[in-house]
């Protein structure tokens, strides 16, 4: 048996004139948490719905466990989907909500087994005290737990989670993020977790797929995506504070900014055409130097500060320690770490043009 549970092959889906998914290729391992991250309208939800069987792709195939399930009903696929809006059955008790999938035809569970499973799940998610409450009388975090409980109670072959933490407050979101990873590891069931939150993507995923406008931009481990983003769009999608992206060109032994200020010494393998350079705020040091810029703004981030430096016609964001003796108007030279900077060819117009993403 291969280590792959799910293969999505060349899946495309259009809604009228809108392309939701364009030739998607991805796989999920048997014991893997794959995070799909992308801005709003990237096609994340459609991808999950296609995998669940709620939506039929226009082309491409979906394989589970080596079998083609492209034409199978959601029931036959036996996957659990946690909807972004929770989708609990209103006016039912929490217990009834969790029991419902266990009573599906063909399961043949005894009442005892069903109740056992409900208590197991309730214990796992710490919702025992809510079992007899109506689902309409729960807080957002409680509804979320119940929705997850309903999904795991029946031991599906695959978990699909559609931004399940988005509607929660920050504190609860972080707690549940850790819990969910732990829970999945315990259950050993593969999971696809969709989010637009870059922190969730980097902290939760065994592997991360970056999706934008229905296309896979990159598919790699979180570390690799963070360190070696394949395009400015990927780089901008992940990392907080956001990466600095500058247009540069090679000349006279240096990579230079648009205004000609030298940035980094050229290497033998550096292409000579105009390039985009990406460098994360934590990979820049502020020093005195020959071409100083001006600190325009200092933003307190708690454990650290962001200095916005107006320099060489650009605004460079630099992460500095909280204790750094910087003040507005200081003259500083931002030195880029040559090993951490990433270079890309200048994207074609429209294709991978720099654009505003969320987070």
């Amino acid at each position: 048996m291969s280590d792959t549970f799910l293969s999505v092959r060349g899946v495309s889906k259009r809604f009228g004139s809108v392309t939701a998914l364009a030739d998607i290729e991805l796989t999920v391992g048997r014991d893997e948490l794959l995070v799909v991250v992308g801005p709003t309208r990237a096609g994340k939800t459609t991808l999950l719905r296609v995998i669940a069987g709620l939506e039929r792709p226009d082309s491409g195939t979906i394989e589970m466990n080596g079998a083609d399930v492209s034409d199978a009903s959601p029931a036959a696929r036996d996957v659990a989907l946690v909807f972004q809006n929770f989708s609990l059955y209103p006016n039912w008790s929490v217990r009834k909500n969790i029991e419902f999938p266990l009573r599906a035809p063909g399961r043949g569970l005894t009442e005892e087994q069903i109740q056992g499973q409900v208590s197991f799940v309730a214990g796992l998610l710490r919702i025992e005290h809510l079992l007899d409450r109506k689902s309409t009388r729960l807080s957002g975090g409680e509804m979320q737990r119940v929705a997850i409980g309903r999904a795991i109670a029946r031991k599906p072959r695959l978990f699909l989670m559609d931004e399940p933490l988005t509607n929660l407050d920050a504190k609860l979101r972080e707690a549940l993020r850790v819990e969910l990873v732990e829970l999945r590891r315990k259950l050993g069931t593969p999971m696809i977790f969709v989010t637009h939150n870059q922190a969730e993507a980097l902290s939760m995923g065994d592997r991360v797929v970056v999706l934008s406008e229905g296309r896979v931009l990159q598919d790699a481990t979180p570390q690799e995506i963070y360190r070696k983003p394949r395009s400015p769009a990927v780089a901008r999608q992940l990392g907080q504070p956001r990466i600095n992206v500058l247009a540069v060109f090679a000349n006279d032994g240096f990579l230079r900014t648009g205004s000609g200020v030298p940035l980094l010494p050229l290497r033998p393998d550096t292409p000579r055409q105009p390039l985009m350079l990406g460098v994360r705020p934590e990979d820049i040091a502020l020093e005195g130097g020959s071409h100083p810029g001006t600190v325009e703004l200092l933003e307190n981030m708690g454990p650290a500060k962001i200095a916005v430096v107006a320099w060489a016609g650009e605004h460079v964001h630099v992460l500095v320690p909280k204790s750094a003796p910087l003040k507005q108007g200081d003259r500083v030279y931002p030195r880029f770490d040559p090993d951490r900077a990433v270079l890309w060819p200048v994207p074609e117009r429209g294709g991978d043009a720099p654009r505003e993403g969320t987070n």
């Binding site: 009903s73 996957v79 006016n91 419902f100 309409t136």
Partner: protein, 300 residues
């Protein structure tokens, strides 16, 4: 200043108030007044008779003809509303998903509801006619010998029920359709993911979630059917033993018997019953509103 505001308020309310007094309150009080007299349709003169009309009504309540009317009304309400509910709900289920020509079918189905009951009664009188009526001719084609709908005592009430069902099933269907459309699609998707059977989805999601609205429709239809008069009038006349509803009896006493005072007393008794029913009705609506209000929080 304060007086001006009060004057404006009164000015705004006054037209409605005058209207209600002329249309509602005056006839009501006048009817109460008449119920204590021996007024007749044929003469303007009348005398006070105290509570004699009311004792007559109370005596009448125990009479066989009133008991019969009550039974007839009850049978009519139960049969007609039950059939309308069932048929309407089935039609709504069938028309729930969109298909080619759905709106045309829907419009056609709603026509009976839009027509005047009295006119429809007259039309059905022709349709149900035993020998040259369209219905029996159609049945004959199928090899069935149709009953004498409007002359056979056993078939008169079913005939009235049939016409009522024809008229009001679209109403039930419309309300059921509204109830079905109000069920959010994500619940069905969740059920699909949860591998629920078609029957479980119907019994545990569709039915309970449309029940409150169906209950409302049943209440509305019951209050309407309880005062059934127009179809009876048009199909069999108000004084037919097998179809005389309470309203028809009331009409018979007041107008055919020309006893306005006695009819007034009857009307007062009926009014009390109607007010009792109306309070059940408003309570149900309040309960429904409270329920909807709570579940409204779930939506997202």
């Amino acid at each position: 200043m304060k007086h001006d505001a009060a004057a404006i308020r009164i000015a705004f309310v006054a037209p409605t108030l005058v209207f209600l007094i002329v249309i509602d309150l005056f006839p009501l009080l006048y009817n109460v007044f008449l119920s204590f007299t021996n007024a007749q349709l044929s003469s303007a003169a009348y005398d006070f008779v105290g509570t004699r009309n009311y004792s007559a009504v109370l005596g009448e309540l125990a009479s066989p003809r009133f008991q019969d009317a009550l039974r007839t009304t009850g049978a009519f309400v139960v049969c007609a509303v039950a059939i309308e509910l069932l048929l309407g709900f089935v039609l709504a289920l069938a028309l729930r998903d969109s298909f080619r020509g759905r709106s045309a079918v829907l419009s056609l189905l709603l026509i009976p509801m839009m027509l005047s009951p009295a006119v429809m009664g007259l039309f059905w009188n022709l349709i149900l006619s035993a020998h040259n009526g369209v219905l029996n001719q159609a049945l004959e084609v199928l090899g069935i010998s149709g009953p004498h709908w409007l002359t056979d005592p056993h078939w008169k009430l079913p005939a009235v029920i049939l016409v009522d069902v024809w008229m009001w099933t679209p109403f039930m269907m419309l309300i059921a359709l509204a109830g079905l459309n109000a069920i959010p699609g994500y619940i069905y998707e969740a059920a699909e993911i949860d591998r629920a059977s078609t029957w479980a989805v119907f019994r545990r999601i569709t039915l309970p979630m449309t029940a409150p609205l169906l209950g409302l429709a049943v209440l509305l239809r019951c209050t309407d059917a309880l005062k059934q008069f127009d179809l009876v009038m048009a199909l069999t006349g108000p004084n037919d033993a097998s179809t005389q509803t309470v309203s028809a009896l009331l009409y018979q006493v007041t107008f055919a018997g020309q006893k306005v005072g006695l009819g007034g007393a009857y009307a007062c008794v009926v009014l009390v019953v109607v007010i009792a029913l109306a309070s059940v009705f408003t309570r149900y609506l309040d309960w429904l509103a409270g329920k909807q209000g709570r579940s409204g929080q779930v939506a997202t």
